[in-house]
Structures are given as structure tokens and as C-alpha cells.
Assembly symmetry: C2
């Protein structure tokens, strides 16, 4: 009874999708011929190809991606791991990756770690489970243990890192020149007449933040400015952290006259505190952020920041992946592409003479 019912239900529900077999039946040729015709195989006559394509259209045929992926051992999916999606930088990077990859027939599976190492590991498992052909990732701030990323490499699929990468991991990397960016910022502040430049930075164990710190310190030396420990702070660079670090700096006997913050979010927090304390920006203290998030131009005063060329980073990362797909054999030379960043000067550091 129940069995018969379930069979009946099946019969109702199953609008069988058309397969190459259906097309083959219509034209009285083999499924193999259909498959080849659809892929423009040279061993199929033009006449047959046309007929096949016409019938395919008529029957509303759509290839079953799962079947071909299984057979070919290739899913045409690319996994992406980003720390956050709500940051303009990351969503812009991803958008430009998508454009490049879609053109080449790849689709994207997006995941975000939300800056958590555990979530990052979950994401990697998910992506490997889904049989992606490769992974493009930017690491969470707290990620130090790289075992999980090695898991990707042992699977034999390409891994490309962007922005937040580790040099220990022997993989391709795309990012901007953080060291140099710090130099540009310090130079700009010096030109505005600043003499005591503080830095609210990220944690040293993340390479990009370490590079920004090194760049800051070396630039201070270049301009013979004081490099005082109390002016160099490390933190998580959230808005909240920016507020806390700014409070800390304001409590100093000898206050800085400029602050370079390694993230726009923390810079915003710092700006809030400055305004709450009626400190004029930039006249009393100049402020520079990092990342060129859209809100930097929305707040008052608008915040000077570093443009990270997100579109370019996304494009290059996607292209690097595509190169891997072309040459499946292990390539010796690694791609480490470092772009030059650009300073966008706004009101928060434009000191009128």
C-alpha cells in the first residue's frame, strides 16, 4: 500500500530533466555523439552538431554539472574565504574575482571566517567537501596555525592567498606593499608639519600589520623623528579598539600631533574619541586610516586613507588560479604579486598653512 503510494507520488513529481540520452533518442544517434556534438568535437559532422544543438534547445536541455564534474574530476567551482563580507575591501575584491572567473566558466562559493580561526577551518572543510577546484583565501586575524591550510595543499588543489597571507606557507600571494604604504603615510604627515607621529597598528604576528609597523618605524628614522614606544600600539583594530587606543594616547603627557591607524575602522573609533574631547582634526591632531573604506569619505572630517586596489587584487588572484588550472603539473616559480598602494588625502590630515 504505502509502497504503491510512494511510487505514485514519484511519478507525479518527477519532471525528468532532459539528458543527452533524450537528445540521442530523438535523433537516433548515440549519447556519446551528442556529448561530442555539444562540445564541438572535430569528429562530428557539422550537420549533426546543428541538429543536436537544435534539439537541445527545443527540449530545454541543460547539462548536469554534477555528472560532468564527477566524470571529469573537476567541479568548475572556486572556493573563497574572506575574513568579513561587510568590509568594502573584501566585497570589492570578491566581486572582481567573480567577474574574471565567471568568464572562464568557473563559479564561486563564498565563505567568510568572521575573523575566527575555527570558522576558517570549517570553511576549508566545506569547500573541500564541495570539491572545489581551488581556494582563494585571506586569513583571519587570529589565524596562526597553518595546518588547515596545508590540508588544502595535500589535496592537490591550488591555494592562492590575498591581503592576509603568511610567507611561511609556500603558496601564491597577492597583496599590496604594506611596508611602503607606511612610508608614504609618514612622508605625507611630515609634509603637513607633524613632528610626533603615533601608530595604532595590528598584531605583529599578522604579516601585513608587521610590515606596516616596520614601515612606520623605518620611515620615522628616515625623517629623524622620535620613535617612542608609547606612540606605537598594537591591537585588534576594530572601532572599539580604535577608541581604546586613542584614549590611551590622549592620556600621554606628551601627546602626538598625528596618528596613523592601520585600519579605517579603528581610525573611525579614534576620530570619535577625538571629537568627543573637542580636539580639532587635523589642526591639533592629524589622522590617517588604511583601506579606503567608503565611510572614510562620509564622516566629518573625511579620513585620509590608503587605497588598496581591491579590484586589481581580485583580478590577479583569479588569474593566478586560472594559470594553475592550465598547467596542472607542479610549477616551480611561485607568484608573489605585490601592488603599490595609493594615498587618498582627505580633510583629516590636510593642514591648512
Amino acid at each position: 500500500m504505502l509502497k504503491r503510494l510512494s511510487k505514485y507520488i514519484k511519478k507525479i513529481n518527477i519532471k525528468r530533466k532532459t539528458t543527452i540520452k533524450d537528445i540521442a533518442n530523438v535523433l537516433n544517434i548515440s549519447p556519446a555523439a551528442v556529448s561530442k556534438a555539444l562540445h564541438d568535437d572535430s569528429r562530428i559532422s557539422e550537420k549533426t552538431k546543428k541538429a543536436v544543438k537544435q534539439v537541445a534547445k527545443n527540449l530545454n536541455y541543460h547539462p548536469n554539472h554534477l555528472a560532468s564534474a564527477l566524470r571529469k574530476g573537476k567541479s568548475n567551482l572556486v572556493g573563497i574565504i574572506a575574513p568579513r563580507t561587510n568590509s568594502h575591501f573584501f566585497s570589492s575584491v570578491v566581486q572582481s574575482m567573480e567577474e574574471v572567473l565567471n568568464k572562464k566558466g568557473y563559479n564561486i562559493i563564498m565563505t567568510h571566517s568572521n575573523e575566527s580561526y575555527k570558522k576558517e577551518c570549517d570553511n576549508i572543510d566545506t569547500l573541500l567537501y564541495t570539491q572545489v577546484d581551488g581556494i582563494i583565501a585571506s586569513m583571519a586575524n587570529e589565524t596562526i596555525d597553518l595546518n588547515y591550510y596545508n590540508k588544502i595543499k595535500t589535496k592537490g588543489i591550488p591555494l592562492i592567498l590575498f591581503d592576509r597571507g603568511e610567507n611561511d606557507l609556500n603558496v601564491d600571494y597577492i597583496g599590496i606593499d604594506d611596508y611602503k604604504s607606511s612610508g608614504i603615510i609618514v612622508q605625507h604627515l611630515v609634509e603637513q608639519g607633524c613632528k610626533r607621529i603615533a601608530h595604532i597598528g595590528g598584531y605583529k604576528h599578522t604579516r601585513i600589520f608587521n610590515n606596516r609597523i616596520r614601515g612606520y618605524m623605518d620611515a620615522l628614522k628616515t625623517y629623524h623623528l622620535p620613535l617612542e614606544p608609547e606612540l606605537l600600539l598594537e591591537g585588534s583594530l576594530t572601532i572599539k579598539d580604535g577608541r581604546a587606543k586613542m584614549q590611551q594616547l590622549l592620556e600621554l603627557k606628551n601627546r602626538p600631533d598625528a596618528i596613523y591607524v592601520a585600519s579605517d575602522y579603528a581610525a573611525l573609533g579614534a576620530l570619535q574619541v577625538l571629537k568627543e574631547n573637542n580636539i580639532r582634526v587635523p589642526q591639533d591632531i592629524a589622522l590617517v586610516g588604511f583601506g579606503n573604506e567608503p565611510f572614510t569619505s562620509m564622516v566629518t572630517p573625511s579620513i585620509t586613507s590608503i587605497n588598496q586596489h581591491s579590484e586589481e587584487i581580485g583580478k590577479l588572484a583569479a588569474q593566478t588560479f586560472l594559470e594553475h588550472m592550465k598547467a596542472p603539473v607542479i610549477k616551480q616559480s611561485l607568484n608573489k604579486k605585490i601592488l603599490e598602494a595609493e594615498l587618498i588625502v582627505r580633510d583629516s590630515s590636510r593642514i591648512k598653512n
Copy 2:
């Protein structure tokens, strides 16, 4: 020659992943038994199950998702289409969907239409190609033609809309009560003493914006306020559009004393123009936005806005999808879930008495 080389290369490269067949060989049982053991089939002895799972672990076995999806006709993937990813609302909705769906073994494929109808169609094709089990979508502003969405329905997979949905399309929908939200806003402004309330709204053909407009108009009637055509403007609700519409309102002989903007982004643009014209907010003109984007609390003055319960929307949409998966037979009753929104009062409309 070339052939032998290619075979050689294959031999080098192929680290064959372990399959159930490998496990079967080790234990001298059939692959079918292994499959059942891994799925805790009742017809397999506990002893065998344990052995299978142990060997699976030892051989680092990971099920091939493509194969099982093909066989079962189910990919365990859910497609998501959002107009934008850089808005806090959408990324928050998606994040909460992901949480619910991951728990039930589903993975997400994210796409964004970037408010373009063409891109939206592409996304639908992509998702159908990837054999997703269902689609959860929010429509682009410019989407009017619904043929592409019908394509999803004819495929026989569930479609759930959120936030931006059309009632013509006979599908499940999750959103907030836009009509009522307008009422709450107008009431709040009246309580602050405002007498001429303008509305910078979205295009009427998008249902949610139409509802906000209707709510605005009906609320004005309720409070016996003037409903003047020059105070009701339609637009794309970008920052730029907000600026333009604000300029337009300032040129009126009889200026409004409050502005309700149907999007935080446009509200921000309006705020910029107000500040540029040295108009005090809220004393001269009060301002209310919509969406509770994080920047509303960051700018000066902070902007009063409507919280759309993004987490709840995401959760409900995901749960609705899961219900479809449980009961594959056509359900009669549609789920239309309308949540109540919440007004977050901030400085831009807090008029000191």
C-alpha cells in the same frame, strides 16, 4: 611517445583519493556495505560499522559529494541571490542563513546581482547549473520582469524571497512590515513636534518602497498633516540620489521640517547636503533613515533609523527552505512571514524640548 609521456604524468600526479571501494577492499566487504555503514543503516551490524568508520578515518576518507549528489539527485547546496553584499543588512541576513543551513548539512553559494536585472538572470542560470536544491533571493531594484524567477519554479526547486519580493510571484516570502514602519516613523516625528514631513522614497514599482510610501501617506492623514506632492519624491535611494533629492527639497519655498528617507544611504546623502547648507539637524530639519546600517551611528549627528531584524529574516528564510526539503510534495499554504520592525532613535531626530 607523447601518449606514454602523458600516461606517465598521470601516474605521478594522481594521488587517488580514497573511496568507499578502498575501504571495502581493506575489510573484504562490498562497497554497498561500506556506504550503508557510513550512513548508520540499521541492516549493518555494529561491529562492521565500527570497523568501517575506523578504516575510513585511517585512510583519510572523505565522501565524494559530486557522486552522491548525482546519485541522489540532490546537491545539498542552496543558492542565494542578494542585490548587494556590501550592505550590512544583506550580509547580516546571509550570515544568519548560513548558520541555520550549515547545521543541517547544506552549503551556500552566494551571488549578488549588484542591483542589475541582467546580472540577476545570470546568477539564476549559474545556480541552476550548479544544481542547487533551492534558491533564496532578494530582487534587484530594477527587476520587474519575473520570467526568470519562473524558470526556477519550473525546475521544481523551492524559491524563497526576502525583503525585496513580489506578491505576484506565488512563492514564500519573509520581510518586515514596511507599511507599519512608515507609520512608526511618522508618529515619532510628530511626537518631536514636526509639522511638514517629507518623504524621499524608492520607486513605487518595488513593493517594499510602495508600501513605505503608502504607510507614509496614510500616517500623514491619521495625524492631519499636509500631504503635498512636492514633499514626496521617488528615486534610486543611493547616496547621490539622496543628495539630489535633498537639494530639491531645500529649493522649496515652504521647506519641510522633517525628512523620512527610505534608505540609510540616501539619508546619509541628504545629511551631507544639510550640513553643507548649515542647516541644523534635527533642530531645523529632523532626519530619519531606514535599515539601521552601522554607519548611521557613526556619523554626526547619528541618524535615527529602522532596524529590520536581519538575523531573524535570514533564519526564517533558511527554515522555510528546510521545510520544503522535508515535504517535497507541493504544499498548498504559502509562507508569508512579515516581521515587525523597530525604530532606533538617534540624534538626527531627537529634538530637545
